[in-house]
């Protein structure tokens, strides 16, 4: 026997890429992903175009979702500080609690939103790269 590997027929959907159809965690793909076929003069990688549109949509959804979450939290906090009169009665270190909350409580909400967004956005990008490697 020689070391030369036997020639095999390569099929379109081999291995793990079979699983990449449909929706893969966060990135929506249309039913059957378009394969990139390198015909001479053909438009560059249609699959790439599909993947990057999917990435753009999922990043936009993520950003809008995080914005909505932040606005809800911020508005609730503002409403609580404005509408709960008892917070004016509680005095901490000489300052009413309502003033303290208004001065300092919004920043943690901003920071948490930022961290959650940054983590999810990087995850979307890693998924996109993984899809492209396989595609």
């Amino acid at each position: 026997m020689s070391d030369i590997p036997r020639r095999v027929r390569v099929t379109a959907d081999a291995g793990p890429s079979r699983r990449s159809g449909g929706t893969t965690r966060g990135i929506a793909l249309p039913g059957a992903a378009t394969r990139a076929i390198a015909l001479p003069g053909a438009p560059v990688d249609e699959a790439d175009a599909v993947y990057s549109r999917a990435l753009r949509r999922s990043q936009l959804r993520l950003a809008l979702g995080t914005t909505a979450g932040f606005v809800v939290v911020g508005a609730t906090l503002a409403a609580v500080v404005a509408l709960v009169p008892e917070l004016n009665e509680i005095v901490v270190l000489g300052v009413p609690l309502s003033w303290l909350l208004h001065a300092f409580a919004f920043y943690p909400a901003i920071l948490v939103s930022a961290l959650l967004y940054a983590r999810a956005a990087s995850r979307n990008e890693r998924l996109y790269l993984a899809l492209r490697e396989r595609g």
Binding site: D48, A49, S52, R53, L55, R56, Q59, L60, L62, A63, T66, T67, F70, G74, A78, V81, A82, L83, P85, N88, V91, L93, G94, V95, P96, S98, W99, L101, H102, A103, F104, F106, Y107, I110, L111, S113, A114, L115, Y117, A118, A121, S122, E125, R126, Y128, L129
Partner: protein
């Protein structure tokens, strides 16, 4: 107050800035290429630099003055500035880093393939930048009036000359280290006095009645929903339209690191705003007599010697003065660099010589305006800039990054609509002080000018028979696709 000590502090800051500037210049010369040099900048330094540039006189002096004067509604400003960076992070940080554009007009031109759209954007950027430099110069003027009794033009001229000459000399472009140093200086210059004053107030006799110092009428419960909502919209969306914000993303090597840097920026500016807010609360306890328009902005400078008569207070004041000058220098320098880049490319040949000329021009115009106008409240004049930036530039940036059907005509129509409607509203309000029921809509126009500009932009783009540029899809793919490392 000790005028000599304070002037020495100013001189030290100027000297330190120049020395670090020259040192940074040497680094960028030996590396030969600003963009290569910038990739050696670690995210912490880069984030410090962005924060150092972002924290202007408006926040350093104005914020505590605003809380002293207007009560709890002053807290909305720093919250809006910090949350503005959240929107920058989520909507434009990584895409704009990947666009490779150095300024907002560069991005608009590359995205829409239109020189006309670029010109309109450049005009908006110039107006925003000039409006933003004016309060910095006013702040410098106020500072020298208070600490040394000098006429108010001295501070404005000093800062303008320093910044103009330094930027024209070419030393400012790559000086991440200078801006970074100034963030830490500003934080220290406010944190140390705040800690000392807080201990003094806490340990002193407790004859303060919280109900008088923090009255309910000035507290968070007096919330005007329209006014606050409109202001927050302007502050949140205005940040991304500021000319000096985008430039800084270029010093991040990839989109992912641009996001990491932005998160750090949010941490750093939040810490600063928390300290600044504390100073505002302390000011209400210690110096309620300063709560007058025009005087309130000086409270950060006056407070230390009010609490600690003698040398201790004088030293603390000198520290605050140093921090304040760092704020004027850092923000104005960042703005002048971005504006000079825009002018030299759009009006002149884009050469180094034209950059220098533009830098001088970009300092001279706001200096003229600053000398001709009297300083209003620092925070509110900075607020006006955010409203204008949000109305004119934020729709085009957001749609440019996320909407593929945006066309050059749509972008121009939307930018002009936003800028004109916002400018007219603010001018009419300034002239007649509002008319009855229309007053709040003229004073805080962001809530209707931003949707209006966006609607015009979308409508004109959809009606534009020429359609979006052919290469749009590929360009958008580049904006959102992560770099292969």
């Amino acid at each position: 107050m000790n005028a000599v000590l304070d002037l020495v502090a100013v001189a030290l800051i100027v000297a330190a800035t120049l020395i670090i500037g020259i040192y940074g210049l040497r680094i960028s010369r030996t590396t030969g290429d600003f963009f290569v040099a910038s990739r050696t900048v670690r995210p912490v330094w880069n984030a410090s630099a962005i924060s150092g540039e972002y924290l202007s006189a408006g926040t350093f002096l104005g914020l505590s003055g605003m809380i002293l004067l207007g009560g709890a509604r002053g807290f909305w400003f720093p919250i809006g500035y910090a949350a503005g960076y959240l929107l920058v992070l989520m909507f434009i940080a990584a895409p704009l880093r990947r666009s490779g554009a150095y300024t907002i007009p560069d991005f608009i031109e590359a995205r829409l393939e239109s020189t006309a759209a670029r010109r309109v954007t450049s005009a908006a950027v110039l107006v925003i930048g000039w409006l933003y430099i004016v309060p910095q110069l006013h702040g410098a003027g106020i500072t020298l009036v208070v600490v040394a009794g000098l006429p108010s033009w001295v501070g404005a001229v000093t800062v303008a000359v320093l910044v103009g000459v330094a930027v024209a000399a070419g030393g400012m472009r790559a000086i991440t280290y200078m801006q970074a140093f100034q963030y830490w200086l500003k934080l220290t210059a406010l944190l140390i006095p705040v800690v000392f004053i807080a201990f003094a107030v806490g340990g002193g006799p407790h004859d303060l009645d919280p109900a008088i110092v923090f009255p309910i009428e000035a507290g968070p419960s007096r919330l005007d929903v329209y006014e606050t909502g409109s202001l927050m919209l302007a502050l949140l969306l205005g940040t991304m339209g500021l000319p000096h914000v985008l430039v800084r993303f270029y010093t991040s090597p990839t989109g992912v690191s641009a996001r990491r840097t932005t998160v750090l920026v949010i941490v750093m500016v939040s810490v600063f705003y928390a300290v600044s807010s504390t100073l505002g609360l302390l000011a209400r306890m210690v110096a309620p007599d300063l709560a007058e328009p025009g005087v309130a902005d000086t409270v950060a400078l006056v407070l230390p010697s009010r609490v600690f008569p003698g040398l201790g207070g004088e030293l603390l004041t000198a520290l605050v003065v140093a921090g304040a000058f760092a704020a004027f220098l850092a923000t104005s320098a960042g703005l002048v660099v971005s504006l000079a880049g825009v002018i030299s490319q759009d009006v002149f040949s884009g050469s180094v010589r034209s950059f220098r000329g533009s830098a001088l021009l970009c300092t001279a115009v706001p200096l003229g305006v600053a000398l001709l106008t009297a300083p209003a409240g620092l925070v509110s004049s900075v607020g006006v800039v955010f409203v204008f930036a949000a109305s004119s530039l934020s729709p085009v940036l957001l749609l440019g990054v996320w909407w593929r059907r945006l066309t050059a005509r749509g972008a121009i129509a939307g930018m002009v609509t936003g800028a004109v409607s916002c400018g007219l509203a603010l001018l009419v309000y300034a002239a007649v002080d509002g008319v009855g029921i229309a007053a709040p809509f003229l004073a805080q126009p962001a809530a209707w000018t931003i949707p209006l500009a966006t609607a015009v932009m979308v409508a004109v783009s959809l009606l534009d028979r020429r359609g979006a540029p052919l290469r749009t899809d590929r360009y958008l793919a580049r904006l959102h696709a992560p770099e292969r490392v």
